[in-house]
């Protein structure tokens, strides 16, 4: 983690789009009128969903909507690392760099991103890509993992990620999930343990006499 500051280049204004505004109102309706600031995190999240990042005008607009001091909204936006304070590309790649992913090749993914996109948080010339390293995404079984547009791409190699980026750049949609066709987090190459059929058909069952079981019939 590092010091989180607002981006130096900011848009001049921010406004929620009509459907985002509707979602924002839905969140705000959950709280009493005097406690509207409870909705600050969902609203910041909506702003990020709309723009890809949280800009200073967005923070100000949200604080105003919720009737809270703008510094309080800034505190929240800078506290949570999932709020991106800098512009990102159309496709923002979040590469998990925590230990299990690192052991399974996240370093190569990061090297690829660095080579193809540039340093973290730098947007490519065409505005398509940016990337960042994030903390554990919680899918360690399928390491290494990258999150793109809220979806996990798992079991990645550098080639897989490169392929994903090529397809994204070409405007195609990409399918989330394991790059190796693994079913969710099932073992790779089929089941290796607990394969004995008798485990499941009841044939291994041995009649047991429970010591405190009352005599039958009574």
């Amino acid at each position: 983690m590092s010091v989180r500051r607002l981006a130096s280049n900011q848009p001049s204004s921010f406004a929620f789009s009509a459907d985002m505004l509707e979602k924002a109102r839905w969140w705000m309706a959950k709280y009493p009128e005097t406690r509207l600031q409870s909705a600050v995190i969902p609203l910041l999240w909506l702003a990020q969903e709309q723009e890809g990042w949280v800009s200073e005008p967005a923070i100000r607009a949200i604080a105003e909507m919720l009737g809270m001091p703008v510094i309080r909204a800034l505190e929240v936006a800078t506290f949570y690392t999932m709020f991106r304070l800098h512009p990102v590309g159309k496709h923002h790649l979040q590469i998990c760099g925590t230990t299990p992913c690192m052991l399974r090749g996240a370093e190569e993914l990061k090297a690829l991103c660095k080579g193809r996109i540039g340093p973290a948080f730098q947007v490519t010339q065409d505005g398509l890509f940016s990337w960042e390293e994030v903390e554990c995404l919680g899918a360690c079984v399928n390491a290494p993992v990258a999150a793109i547009h809220d979806y996990y791409h798992e079991d990645l190699t550098a080639q897989d990620l490169e392929g994903l980026m090529d397809r994204l750049a070409a405007g195609e949609t990409v399918q989330p999930g394991s790059a190796r066709g693994r079913q969710r987090s099932a073992p790779e190459g089929g089941t290796a343990v607990l394969t004995d059929k008798s485990l499941y058909d009841g044939s291994l069952a041995v009649p047991v006499a429970l010591p405190n079981r009352p005599a039958s019939g009574s």
């Binding site: 983690m1 001091p69 510094i71 309080r72 800034l74 505190e75 800078t78 506290f79």
Partner: protein, 698 residues
Amino acid sequence: MAKILVDGVEVDVPAEYTLLQACEAAGAEIPRFCYHERLSIAGNCRMCLVELKGAPKPVASCAWGVRDCRSGPNGEPPEVFTKTPLVKKAREGVMEFLLINHPLDCPICDQGGECDLQDQSMAYGRSGARFEENKRAVEEKDMGPLVKTVMTRCIQCTRCVRFAAEVAGAPEIGATGRGEDMEITTYLEQALSSELSANVIDLCPVGALTSKPYAFNARPWELKKTESVDVMDAVGANIRIDARGSEVLRVLPRLNEEINEEWISDKTRFAEDGLKRQRLDRPFVRRAGKLTATTWDEALTAAAKALSGDPARIGALAGDLACAESMKAALDLMAALGVANLDCRVDGAKLPPGPRPAYLFNTTIMGVEDADAVLLVGTNPRIEAPLINARIRKAWLRKPLAVGVIGEPADLTYRYEHLGASPAALADLAAGRSAFFDILKNARRPMIVLGQGALARDDGAQVLRLAGRLAAAAGVVKPDEGWNGFNVLHTAAARVAGLDLGFAVGLTAAQQIMAANTGHLDTLLLLGVDEMELPRAGATVIYIGSHGDRGAHRADIILPGAAYTEKHATWVNTEGRVQYGRRAAFPKGEARDDWAILRALSDRLGKTLPYNDLQSLRAKMMADHPSFAGIDYAPGAQGSERFDPASLGEDGPVTAAPLRSPIEDFYLTNPIARASATMAACSEAASARRAVHRVAAE
């Protein structure tokens, strides 16, 4: 009440006390950084750890209630230890962590010598640090012309954040980021928009927020400390003036629960550099249209000549910063000369010189906390008396407080109902044609605050009558309950003393100026009158004052006097509380105490005043005006049984002109503040802020 043992000493404290308060009650000293009596509890510095019997680890005493402690197995009172090895080790550990990222730059830090961190690390810290990594560094933040920041020194106690949000009512400071990267800043590094902003300098336990104008000026042990009283507004905040030699270097608040608690306004704190500029340090006489420096002898002779004419053609005015002694001396001299035109209400307020409750803040400032309904008429207390405004906010935060405003709508830091802008709204209210009337009438402790903006107008007497009628109809004066809710909020430090002395006979200030312009007055004696339109050429103007401001520019004879830091003087605040200001430095150059100038002048006129020193002058003042003998005493509801607010003012029609505060720029209300570069910078920053708000509003 709950019993608790602190280091074996049994104390009986209210159950809602925290352990820290209980320990203090038992006489144990608890170090702390984030805890402050007047702010909410944060519990994040961990310096106040104590050992609680039965608790598995040390507890933060500031955030642990006495009622939350369990008693022993046989019902013994809970036991707290503050001197055990565990506590010692805990404090050392906390101290070491706090110092990990704190630079060791005490020799170049302005807080050095009065730093909590320095003192507590001496008392409770280890002898050395074991930290060998790099220290964290934080960029400086721009917090405006008053507060200098060295944010690397910040230990994140968040006192400033809580002060801004709670006391000042300007929630503009915050802590961004988290963990090691947490930083204290204002939004986009704007200056704080509060009139109390610089109190964060006192609150900061380290050298992160220090005084910008005082930066690198002096060390605390070099300064001579004088306890005195502030004159920037009529609140009479208690201050400590720190001076080195003849120079006042800074002004700090002094604790007085009944007036300013431990806060002072930015103007009180930082107008002090105005004491070094634009000073009148020698007598001047106008010759051939030009003011020329001269000797006391010549100036006094000229003044005596001007005053020896027909007494009916002489007038005297006392300005906003005139002390009671100088007004008393002027009053006695004028009486001896037979002059019958005196006025201290230079702003034109239509206030009667008596009875006393008619012009005092009768609820007292502390009484504001008891009020449950407040009506503000023609006043913006935020800029007229920031400390009284902070009290209203304090009361508003603690309980439901209905506040109504008649006058200009402004951000007062608390919610209020705007009842109208013109006196008509007051008339409606007085006639009971408003829902707020019932609120006032049904309130147990109702309060009406009448500002000078409501009184200093042509129909001021009529507005006063309306306010008085409202006070009577709503029953805000309750003598049998010891409550007088009729308040007048003054803006000038001199005004109440002037009215107490009866410095308001004959022609009013405006009439005197008019008479001088039309040739009906030959001579005007001004005691520091700088806030009003002065007569054009014609009359001879004698000016006694400290600063070359409006009055001195018009004057024909200037007799240089002492500023408030340079004399022993009596001040009466808006509550009617008599307080003594003390001399911190001597008057500049040839300037003299104001009363002594008048005494010398009386000698020249052959009407020698009957006092040769301050003591005898004060004795005479107390004998003639007994209210001056009640030092540091606010009369409050005293005399309210004989006080009929409905009889104040005059009947008559009121105009539709909106009521507005007499103060346009908080930072530039008197000659001292106008001479101050710091106040000029503040005023500029404030007007830039207003411009931004105007643009945003459009």
